[in-house]
């Protein structure tokens, strides 16, 4: 047992204990159940905050590690650990869970007990995914998380919930089963499921007892992992499960889905694809980036024309996550940091968007934008919150969305200016779809009589939204609190995939020969090189 | 002397005819008979091999096969009677309630 106590185990299994407690309770006292669930999730949140202390700023590697034998043959270990990247993803999860519980306070009326049990089980799975350092364990949690989510969609969702739930499971399974094959293959090559060991082996030269995968093998392995993650992200063109899942899921489900579950995909890319298969990652980077960019633009354009508000937000996730993937596969430390930040920011802002959409749905039981219009009049506060969140989502500086997006684009630009330029179009388009939909929902005269008397936010909703807004603002202004802690981990990932050349600012000396040249073809070539055409 | 080949080939032919009978007969009893034919073909092979190898166990196997065939016959005919009673037909193609 490594030092560090059992905080991580507690984090993983505390929700399970809570769920068990709920199961044993009688199912008819809804209020009591809700309160218990809330307390459990809040306690879990506080536990997760304890981790921050344990992850020193600037330290690479894993902290609070736990290590225990589990299965002998093949050697599978219960190995947990946390680093800068997973730290905040876990906190994001534990933060969004109580929010989701609060958001479901009144909208979930039947099978209340099961609902909260499922929510807590989902939390267990997701936290487990982020904390596992054993490939097998990781896969286990990855799959475990599927079922509660499918139930959340399938039981408490809207009209086409069953279709969406099944689609969600099938899509995810299609990818994850191949990942399982990949994991096993990797085990065959390395003889261990332990992530740090595998990493170390793959990074040690053959001559020193390490392991070098044949390029083709590495690429296949990379693809096996990548496909699973890409589906989860979801990367274009594997995204079509997402709109359905979101639209049909209950608010809490959407919040968790958009807030955390999608991050599992990008987290997987950072944690597995890049460090384990650097060569393949480098070779695939161009293709991945193209897909990510298509996703950014395509997601935004499709979001723009959605008549369904929730679908719009769902497609916007496709667009936003495209930034994350792009940032990861640009292999630049700035963009990587940006990607990590964007994951967190997207969790908050899109989570909040779904909360708001859910609140609208609670009032009017529809997601059709055409059913709304002029809502700013009866519910100014909700309108204000919505605008605030929409702005953070479209990347307004000083709100959380900007930091990640900016860093991603900035970092990407340093390596591939073309990619960044295309991706930056997303910045324009996000304004288009968010503001247009906002206008259609909140501005103008009231067109439906029903909307005239809708109540503004209740106290509970106000507290939820205010919390989200404060976090949004804090993340937009005080980003260094987070980036300082993710920096080392992100840097080490980059180092593993592609050691960065030390930064060299261009100097006039280097530019002098170019200045001497006339505006001939040669000069053009040099200038384009300086621009970063590689 | 007759080469063992001949016996075994004969057994193969009989086995094939048995299969053919199984496929082409409609009457359940006849189909069952074709199974008996196949078992007989097997027996012939056993005896021929036994003889060729100079070992007796092949003949012992034949005895076992005959016993098994007898047991099967008892059960099989029981089932056939059951079918005939409940369905008033012995045509195997009419017994297709379970399908797809």
């Amino acid at each position: 047992m490594l030092p560090g106590g059992h905080l991580l185990s507690v984090l993983i299994f505390f929700p399970a204990v809570g769920a068990l407690a709920l199961l044993l309770l009688r199912g008819d006292d809804h209020k009591f159940i809700r309160i218990i669930a809330l307390i459990v999730s809040l306690a879990e949140f506080l536990f997760s905050l304890l981790m921050i202390r344990a992850v020193p700023v600037g330290a690479t590697g894993y902290h609070l590690e736990e290590y225990a034998k589990w299965i002998d043959q093949p050697p599978i270990h219960y190995h947990l650990g946390v680093d800068g990247i997973s730290l905040f993803l876990v906190i994001l999860t534990t933060f969004l869970t109580p929010i989701s519980i609060l958001a479901s306070w009144q909208s979930i009326e039947h099978r209340v007990k099961e609902f909260f049990v499922m929510l807590l089980m989902l939390e267990l799975g997701v936290v487990g995914v982020f904390l596992s350092l054993d490939l097998f364990l990781f896969f286990l949690f990855w799959e475990v998380m599927l079922i509660p989510m499918a139930f959340l969609i399938g039981i408490w969702g809207h009209e086409r919930r069953v279709y969406a739930a099944v689609k969600f499971v099938l899509y995810t399974m299609a990818g994850s089963i191949l990942m399982l094959v990949g994991i096993i293959w990797l085990y065959n090559a390395t003889g261990t499921f332990d992530l740090p060991t595998v990493e170390a082996l793959l990074h040690t030269p053959l001559s020193q007892g390490g392991l070098e995968l044949a390029p083709r093998t590495e690429m296949l392995l990379f693809l096996a992992f990548f496909l699973a993650f890409a589906i989860k992200v979801p990367l274009f063109p594997l995204h079509t499960w997402l709109p359905d899942a979101h639209v049909e899921a209950p608010t809490a489900g959407s919040v968790m889905l958009a807030g955390v579950l999608l991050k599992m995909g990008t987290y997987g890319m950072i944690r597995f694809c890049l460090p384990l298969f650097p060569e393949a990652s480098r070779r695939a980077a161009g293709w991945v980036a193209v897909l990510a960019i298509i996703g950014i633009i395509y997601g935004a354009l499709v979001a723009m024309v959605q008549p369904n508000l929730k679908k719009l937000v769902a497609y916007s996730s496709v667009s936003h996550l495209g930034f994350v993937v792009l940032g990861i596969f640009a292999f630049h430390n700035i963009s990587m940091q940006g990607a990590v930040y964007q994951m967190l920011a997207h969790g908050i802002s899109t989570g909040a968007l779904f909360l708001l959409v859910g609140m609208l749905h609670d009032r009017r039981h529809t997601f059709e934008i055409s059913e709304y219009g002029g809502l700013a009049t009866p519910m100014p506060k909700l309108a204000a919150f919505f605008l605030f969140v929409a702005l953070s989502s479209l990347g307004l500086p000083m709100l959380n969305g900007f930091v990640g997006e900016y860093l991603v684009l900035l970092g990407t630009y340093q390596r591939h200016w073309g990619w960044a330029s295309w991706a930056a179009l997303g910045v324009i388009l996000s304004a288009c779809y968010l503001l247009w939909s906002y206008q259609r929902v909140f501005f103008g005269e009231i067109t439906r009589e029903k909307n005239r008397t809708l109540p503004d936010v209740s106290a509970r909703e106000k507290w939820i939204l205010a919390t989200m807004a404060i976090v949004t603002l804090w993340m937009g202004v005080g980003s260094t609190f987070i980036t300082a802690r993710t920096a080392a981990a992100a840097q080490s990932v980059i180092d593993e995939v592609e050691p960065q050349r030390p930064y060299e600012a261009a100097t006039p000396d280097s530019a002098t020969p170019q200045a001497k040249l006339d505006s001939s073809g040669a000069a053009k070539a040099i200038s384009s090189e300086r621009l970063g055409i590689r | 002397m007759v080469p063992t080949n001949y016996y075994v080939i004969l057994s193969a032919i009989l086995f094939g005819l048995g299969v053919l009978a199984f496929i082409f007969k409609r009457n359940i009893i006849t189909i069952f008979m074709s199974i008996e034919l196949m078992l007989n073909a097997v027996n012939l092979a056993f005896v021929a091999f036994s003889q060729a190898l100079g070992k007796l166990d092949g003949q012992v196997f034949v005895l076992f096969v005959i016993v098994v065939a007898a047991a099967e016959a008892a059960v099989g005919l029981g089932i056939i009677i059951l079918i005939a009673r409940s369905r008033q037909t012995l045509n195997v193609e009419r017994v297709d309630l379970l399908k797809l």
Binding site: L140, I184 | F46, F49, K55, I80, L98
Partner: protein, 488 residues
């Protein structure tokens, strides 16, 4: 040479099962109390299972090598014994409900179990054949046990005709093997010249046909859905768990023991596995009858197990050490699968109601509201079949994947992955029905189906087992991974 005591010990489980079978038959005219037979059968199955421990403690070849008492047969005896025990428990209420005679059922069950035990321990083809026939003939009768049901009798007829047909192939295969090798002892088929004997190959091929039929490998799977659907549900549970496992045991022993068999068979198993997986999963996609759906699913799972066989046969010539994980995969999978299928069919049997009327998927709509615990248990089984973690099915699948990847069977692994996804769809359909659909009005108004104590015990046992092996597979794995699995 007359049998020695040690020989008797080594086949004790089978003898005990047979003995109790005979006992039941003999008592039948004299005892009216049905529960007495249940009790007797329970004792019998347990005693036989216990006897397998004693057999395992005296490991070694019995009857001059006709049978082998080793870890492998121990595993399967335990498995089929437990299956039989659970089937007895689950069948009681069913027989009661359907007003079927008890004693004969249990006697046949015991004989069938004995046959499976023989099959699992046989080291000689003819003995295996007798074992196979014991279990088969009992199965034929059990399939037609509901004599007043058209479906049941049809099931019996089809099973009987086709089973005998396949047995003939199997037997012809034995004949050819005997003719080419001069022996029917698996351990004596090691000679080098058999590697080049076409006749031997042909014999093995026909044996594979016969056993392929028993394990429901495509294209020999055609009988499975019909027979499973028609047979009384507890019998179906037995079919899917017991004889199949035993047939796999024999298949494994043949292809693990006979070097010439191991060597050439890779592509055949590859093809069988691929075909079987697809046949099962695709067929199940469109089923609306739960029993039939589970039947197709068991075809699919046979396909998965055959993947492990492909892995076994692709291993080096006599590499039992290397192939150990692949064997283990088969064994573990059979274990997890038996537990799950037993549980699932037990639930189906219980929910079916008198005359097995409620077998349609629609009858399961809203089950989670009406009978939450049953729905939860069935979900656990389905998730295990689906191969989701913390269930035994997950580890089973994991090991098969591992075996496949070990043997570089990447494409097969990918095909299996594809099939897992297809499978997920129809398993989810059942879960969706139970959890996400409303009950029909009449189902709502009807009182919940009672689950007697014995059935609940079966469910609890299988659920706990499924979860236990899903979380802590260590013990069983270490057991089945031992290099000297096949006592030699």
């Amino acid at each position: 040479m007359l049998p020695r005591a040690i020989d008797i010990y080594r086949v004790l489980p089978e003898l005990v099962w047979c003995g109790f079978g005979v006992l039941v038959v003999l008592m039948q005219p004299f005892v009216r109390n049905r529960h007495f037979f249940t009790f007797l059968a329970l004792i019998g199955t347990l005693a036989g299972t216990a006897a397998s421990v004693s057999a395992a403690m005296r490991a070694g070849p019995g009857f001059d090598g006709l049978v082998q008492s080793d870890s492998f047969s121990f595993f399967f005896r335990l498995l089929v014994g437990t299956v039989a025990f659970l089937v007895v428990l689950a069948a009681g209420p069913y027989l009661e409900r359907e007003r079927l005679p008890f004693a004969e059922f249990y006697a046949l069950l015991l004989f069938a179990t004995a046959g499976m035990g023989v099959l699992a321990s046989a080291q000689e083809l003819l003995t295996a054949f007798i074992g196979l026939e014991m279990s088969s003939i009992s199965s034929y009768i059990l399939a037609g046990y509901r004599r007043d049901s058209l479906k049941s009798t049809e099931s019996a007829m089809k099973y009987f005709l086709l089973g005998s047909f396949a047995t003939a192939f199997f037997l012809y295969g034995i004949a050819l093997v005997y003719g080419s090798s001069g022996t029917t002892m698996l351990t004596k088929m090691g000679s080098e010249e058999l590697f080049h004997s076409k006749l031997f190959e042909l014999g093995l091929a026909l044996i594979l046909v016969g056993l392929g039929f028993k394990v429901a490998a495509a294209p020999f799977q055609v009988w499975t859905p019909d027979v499973y659907e028609g047979a009384p549900t507890p019998v179906t549970a037995l079919f899917s768990a017991g004889p199949k496992a035993a047939a796999f045991a024999l298949l494994l022993r043949i292809f693990a023991t006979v070097p010439a068999a191991t060597h050439f068979w890779f592509w055949a198993f590859w093809g069988l596995a691929a075909l079987t997986m697809f046949a099962g999963n695709l067929g199940a996609l469109v089923q609306t009858n739960v029993k039939r759906l589970l039947a197709y699913s068991s075809i699919a799972h046979a396909g998965y197990i055959l993947v492990a066989f492909a892995a076994v046969t692709s291993m080096a010539r006599d590499g039992s050490a290397e192939a150990a994980p692949a064997y283990a995969a088969v064994l573990f999978y059979l274990l997890s699968y038996a537990l799950v299928k037993l549980g699932a069919f037990t639930i189906v049997s219980q929910l079916g109601g008198t005359g097995e009327k409620n077998l349609s998927l629609d009858d399961y709509a809203g089950l989670s509201e009406r009978q939450p615990f049953v729905a939860a248990a069935l979900s656990v089984y389905l998730l295990s079949l689906l191969g989701l973690p913390v269930t035994a099915g997950f580890f089973g699948k994991f090991y098969i994947f591992k075996a496949a990847v070990n043997s570089h069977l990447l494409w097969l692994a990918v095909l299996m992955a594809v099939n897992s996804v297809i499978g997920a769809y129809y398993y989810l359909r059942v879960i969706v029905m139970m959890y996400m659909r409303e009950s029909s009005a009449e189902a709502k108004s009807a009182a919940p189906v009672g689950f007697p104590l014995t059935v609940n015990f079966v469910l609890a046992f299988t659920v706990v087992g499924t979860l236990y092996f899903g979380l802590f597979p260590n013990r069983v794995l270490n057991f089945i991974l031992q290099p000297a699995l096949f006592g030699r």
